[in-house]
Subunit: 159 residues, 2 copies
């Protein structure tokens, strides 16, 4: 049974380990940082410029969770919306390597690290992606590994 929403998108069988997805870039404004922080991470170093200057971060910086959310959005726009994605399973090894400051532009790549079929659900596969997110100076700011469900064209066990 084909899925009318996803039938024309790339499926599990169309992906290859080592494929590199260019995530494009996103610029991070003061308003983005403070509005996200008010909702999810209300620390002075994400909300108040003076407090931020005196903190470890040395200036107003985005919540690490926001950096992750923006990276996810870049993956949706550049990859997940073009494949037969069924949703995320989880993340591992997320590391915040450097703060993302007001005015920074972040971007980077996601590389397919692993492809395996679900044992319990032969109609699905799992694609594992390694993120390398950097700022405009090419300095790494975040890495993480995402596991995402994807439909298989042919549900049988791979040969």
């Amino acid at each position: 049974m084909t899925n009318p929403v996803t039938e024309n998108r790339r499926h599990f069988e169309d992906l290859a380990v080592g494929e590199v997805i260019n995530l494009g870039t996103t610029s991070v404004s003061k308003e983005m940082i403070t509005s996200f922080a008010r909702e999810f991470d209300p620390f002075p170093f994400h909300l108040d410029e003076k407090a931020a200057k005196e903190s470890l971060l040395g200036g107003l910086a985005s919540s690490g969770w926001q950096t992750g959310g923006l990276s996810l959005r870049m993956l949706v726009d550049n990859f997940l919306s073009k494949i037969a994605s069924c949703g995320g399973l989880g993340f591992t090894d997320l590391k915040w390597k450097a703060p993302v400051m007001v005015g920074d532009t972040i971007g980077g790549t996601a590389t397919i690290a692993e492809l395996r079929r679900s044992k319990s659900h032969p109609q699905w596969g799992i694609v594992t992606l390694d993120f390398d997110i950097r700022n405009q100076k090419d300095k790494p700011v975040m890495s993480m590994r995402l596991a995402n469900l994807i439909e298989c064209r042919t549900p049988e066990t791979a040969a």
Copy 2:
């Protein structure tokens, strides 16, 4: 040198492995789900009720990244704002176990799994927290392990 912002808060030495932090609860509305999804995770099953009903999730469900953000906010309110926290380092083993649907109330605990001093920065310690996030039916919806920096009262290496 004491930090005037954090000196009256709990420091590294005041925490113990096994301490359980009650995170309280947060209710998740349709408006919260769709506004987060529009910004970070614009999939039909997070935005459109009809498409969501026909998806794997069976109804409008929050972005997993939003469930994580709401859990982080509960940790800030109930723990991080009361300790001498210097910011997050990263997390690992995040698993989305069940969808969070419109009208669900999520909550749970974070348990101190590990406490260690930084080798390179004797003024800091690292507290590792295991999240167990459940819905109103006590069904697990998300787990993850967060590593967070915290000031030590006494910077010397622990005996």
